[in-house]
Every structure is written in C-alpha cells, then in structure tokens.
C-alpha cells in the first residue's frame, strides 16, 4: 500500500543531505504561505521599527546631543537597524512555542522527514523575513534623509546586522523550546526593552552613569551598533572603553559565540523532547 507513495529504501548520505535541504525549504515555505495569507501581520512587524525610528528622530531627537558631534538621525538609524534584529527574537520564539504547543513539532517529528529541517526551516524563514524587515527600515531611513557613506562598507554592515539576527534567532529557538506556554513570549517581549535600552542603540554609552556605561558597552548589541555606525559613516559618539574601541571584533565575536552556545543548547533541548 505504501509503495505507491514513495520508496522506503534507506537513503544514502547524499540523498539524505538533499532531502534535509529540500525539507527545510518546504518548512520555510510554510512561513511564506503565512505571509501571503496575513500581509497585515507582516506589515505591522516591518513597520513597528519604522514607527520607533520616526518617534525617536522627530519626537525625542530634538533633545538628543551626540557626544563628539553629528546628526542624531544618522546616529540613530544604525541603532534602530540593530534593534530590529534583536526584536526578531520574539517572532522566532513565538513560532517555535506555538508549533510545539499545538503539536505541530511532534507531527513533524513523527514524519519520515529530515529531523533537522524543523529547525533549519525556521532559520531560513526567519532570516528571509529579517532581510525584508531590514530593507523596509533602510528604505525608511533613506526616506527621512539618512545616507550611508559608501556602498561597499554598507553591505558589510548589513552582513553584520544579519549575523546579529542569526544569534538572536538561535536564542529565540532555545527560548521557544524552553517555554511551555505561549504566555511566556510576553515576558520576553517585555524584557527585550530594558535589554535594548541598556546599550548604545539610542544614546552613546558614555552618557550613562559609570557602571551602567560599562554594561551597555558590553551588551552584545553594542558592538554591532558601533561597528555598523562606523561602516555607514555615521557619528559613533566619543568616549568609551576597550569594548567600544574593538567594536568590530565584538560585532563578530558576540553573535558567533551566542549562535554556537544557543545552537548547542537548542539541539540538546530538541533531543530532550524524546525523553
């Protein structure tokens, strides 16, 4: 009976790898189908950072002074771009929690598909939506008069931003597997605010009181923000310790470290589902 719908022969390693990729694309395709069906949700998600950008530039920006001089708008846009990458953690976590709570993760696990595709499919989909989100936010920045200095470094900056998103994607997957209840996403949605404010995304860390400035400088978000500001040719704000001086190094090290740690934790958590 089964033979009519596919071969049951044990696949070789190449065949397996091919299916792992194909399955991941199908899993990610499910998200694309969601976007098509819920364009409003996609729009809200993409426009929220734009709204923040506009509020900070036009409502708060008048009172902002960038230490070392420079326009607050140019200072803020790179910060907002990095912020949008961190906010992605909520989308990833929500998707993982919902699928696990609804039994969809278990259904995937009971299918003869590549087990890795459950997670790699999520990565593909979330990275794709982040690229779109970044494009929208960059377009908004350009629309209000922000201009990156040169194209080459700007592309490197986009690469660093996506690397940061990758790190927060894995944090999101881990938190999603950890959470038993979709209500826990709320907690993360709240906690992400102090996390992003305790960085140099909105104001230079040097304007904060002593020890807070140090914490803000070492925030995994901060390295990316400073490095991206440099690459876009925006004012970076003066003052700062070792972390600020080596921002580009941290902009690579932090996301790589977080990705490795949370990928390992997530895989272990995923395996624990069979206990």
């Amino acid at each position: 009976m089964t033979a009519a719908y596919g071969s049951l022969a044990e696949p070789g390693p190449i065949e397996r790898a091919r299916w792992a990729v194909a399955d991941a694309v199908v899993v990610a395709g499910r998200d694309v189908a969601h976007w098509r069906r819920q364009p409003a949700a996609v729009l809200v998600n993409a426009l929220f950072p734009v709204l923040l950008l506009l509020m900070f530039v036009y409502l708060l920006g008048g009172g902002m002074v960038v230490p070392g001089g420079g326009d607050y708008r140019d200072f803020l846009v790179p910060g907002m771009l990095a912020l949008a990458m961190v906010f992605g953690v909520e989308a990833t976590m929500t998707a993982v929690v919902t699928d696990t709570a609804r039994g969809i993760t278990d259904r995937f696990r009971s299918l003869p598909m590549a087990p890795s595709a459950v997670v790699t499919g999520r990565c593909l989909a979330d990275m794709a939506s982040s690229v779109v989100g970044l494009a929208v936010l960059i377009a908004a920045g350009l629309a209000i008069g922000w201009r990156p200095a040169r194209v080459g470094p700007a592309l490197v900056a986009v690469g660093l931003l996506l690397l940061l998103r990758l790190a927060f994607l894995w944090i999101g997957i881990y938190l999603g597997l950890l959470a038993r209840d979709p209500a826990m996403v709320m907690a993360v949605q709240i906690l992400v605010w102090p996390f992003v404010f305790l960085s140099n995304a909105f104001v230079a860390a040097s304007t904060m009181p002593g020890w807070l400035a140090v914490v803000a400088e070492w925030n995994p978000l901060a390295g990316t923000v400073t490095a991206v500001r440099g690459l876009f040719g925006a004012p970076v704000g003066t003052g700062g310790g070792w972390a600020t001086e080596h921002a580009t190094l941290l902009a690579v090290l932090w996301p790589v470290l977080l990705t490795v740690v949370f990928a390992v934790l997530s895989v272990r958590r995923f395996q624990r589902l069979s206990r």
Binding site: G6, H34, R102, D106, L111, R275
Partner: protein, 321 residues
C-alpha cells in the same frame, strides 16, 4: 495471525516515577485496538513510544514489523500519528496543510496536490477551498488532522484521544472516519477515556491503569467482566448495610463481590438486567426486616468499571456522584 503492533516488556520511567511498568501488547493486522484508561494511566506515553517520539527505557516495540527504537525512520514511513490535539496549521487552508505534510513525506509537487485532493474528498472537506483552518469547527479540524495522518496511507494509524473535547456531532464524524479507514485495511490503535467509544470502534480493548495492562479482551468480554448494571439501595439503618449488601447480592444472583462492605447507608450491588431483579432484592430485604428508603437501577459508570477492574476501591461505600 500477523501482528501490526507487537510490544514486549515496555518500561518507561520519568525520574523515579514508573510510567509504564512492563507492557505486553499485540494488535492483529487490520483490527482496531482501544487503549482505555483514566488520565495518567500511561496511554499517551505508550503511543508516543510506538510512534518514535519518545524512547523507552526497556522493551521491544515492533510496529508494522519494524523495531521503532532501532529504525525510527523506517517506522515513521509506515505509521500515521494523530495526537491529542489537532496538529494542523490554522493559518493555512485544509488543502495547503495536506500539501505541506505530503511534501514533507517527499511526494512531488503534483503528487502531493493529487493526494491532498483525494484525502479531502475522503474526510469530507473537499469544499473548504482556501478557508483558513482557524475558522473550522472542532470536528472539521479533527477530520483534517486525521487526513494529515493518512498521507502515506500508513499501515498502522495511532489516534490519541481523537474525540476528546468534541461535541456529539464531531464525535460521530470522527467515528465514521475511523470506521472507513478500518474498512480499507488500516490497523488502528486509539486511546480513549470513554468506554462507549471503545465499545463502538474496537475489536479489542486493553485497559491501562497505573502503567500496567489490567484487562484485555473484546468489548463484550470486558463488559461482562465489569458486570452490566448497578442496583443502588439506601437503607434506613446504616448498621445493617453489610447485611443488606449480602442479601441483595444473593437475591440478584450476581457474582460474589470481592470488595468488603463498609459503613454507610448506601449499598451498590452489581446486577444483570433481567425482569424481576429489583423486586427480588427488595423482597429479600423486606423479609429480613431491613427498611429501604430508595432503590435505583442504573448502568455501570466508567469509574466503577475502572474500580472493578483495578480492584483498588470498595465499590459499595464509594459511590461516584
């Protein structure tokens, strides 16, 4: 007889708690087996182990002739799982859902579409078009869920409490769908808390309690073991309850109850429904001078069935509301 499921010595512990304590089970090919038991009996764990989602601590588990622990991938290609809650994407439509699951089982684009249409027809959802699953009724959602478990025409289908939370119409829908499957030759293992569901669908019923199989047989055999109906008496003098119970049992010609009668005025006696049984009991009590305030003849409740089979409680003193 060919076994579609064959389990020997299945054991599973969580921390120190023994969830499954040496289960042996065989399900013949092409039959329906109902795993009946209260919450926490270990039904879901058993199903999750048989469907490769959870690893057992000990035991040999073969499904469709495949060792599920040694070769989970091959097992997954031959089984369908329908979990406790409908595991379908509720943003997508019914057809989109089925195409998604078919593609993940490596059907080509065209074959996936064709299979999806076939299944939609089979479960009566062909007319739903692009309507998102979110707008489906509970029964429709469940039928889609069942269809999603049938993509590869599995040899063995597992349903974990398929009708829990459904209204009577939805329940009938699901029962019909399961009957149609069995007519097509699929072996079905379903778990349920409802004796009625087991009676209606299953060829064999296994009662699971506290991680052990405590009874096994056809629905007819089990109902006979549980003992048909109950006669409930309220005696005026609680001091004579034990005496009343013995007299009533004798008069009703029921098998000797294994439980000890306790204190209390309420007496419950297993009886088989036959003409004159109530009269005989009341006469016997009257002759012994035991006054009776109330007499009720009613069907055995599932609670009593569990208690009877597991033999853990004194049925005559603990009457479920």
């Amino acid at each position: 007889m060919v076994s579609a499921i064959s389990i020997a010595g299945l054991t599973k512990k969580y921390e120190k708690k023994v969830v499954l304590d040496g289960i042996d089970l065989r399900v013949r090919s092409g039959t329906v087996c109902a795993l009946l038991g209260p919450n926490g009996a270990g039904k879901t764990t058993t199903v999750r182990i048989m469907t490769t989602l959870v690893r057992p601590d000990a035991g040999r588990i073969e499904v469709a002739g495949i060792d599920v622990v040694r070769d989970p991938r091959a097992a997954r290609a031959r089984i369908g799982l329908i979990g406790q809650q409908p595991a379908v994407d509720d943003v997508l439509g019914a057809r989109q859902n089925l195409v998604l699951f078919a593609r993940l089982q490596h059907l080509g684009r065209r074959a996936a579409g064709a299979r999806a249409d076939e299944l939609l027809e089979q479960v009566g959802l062909a007319g739903t078009g692009t309507q998102p699953v979110r707008q489906f009724s509970g029964g429709m959602r469940r039928r889609l869920d069942i269809a999603a478990g049938l993509v590869l025409a599995p040899e063995v289908l597992f349903l974990d409490e398929p009708t829990t939370g459904l209204d009577p119409a939805g329940r009938r829908d699901v029962w019909d769908a399961i009957r149609a499957l069995v007519a097509g030759g699929t072996t079905v293992l379903l778990t349920t808390q409802y004796l009625e569901e087991a009676e209606r669908l299953a060829d064999d019923v296994c009662v699971l309690d506290g991680g052990r199989l405590v009874a096994q047989g056809t629905p007819g055999e089990l109902t006979a073991a549980i003992g048909g109906d109950r006669l409930e008496l309220v005696v005026t003098d609680p001091g004579r309850a034990r005496e009343a119970a013995l007299l009533a049992e004798r008069a009703a010609a029921a098998g000797p109850a294994r439980d000890q009668a306790g204190a209390g005025e309420r007496v419950v006696v297993p009886v088989s429904r036959r003409p004159g049984v109530v009269g005989a009991v009341v006469r016997a009590l009257d002759e012994a001078g035991i006054a009776v305030d109330d007499v009720v003849l009613r069907a055995t409740t599932l609670d009593e069935a569990y208690l009877r089979i597991t033999g853990r409680n004194d049925e005559r003193t603990e009457v479920p509301a």
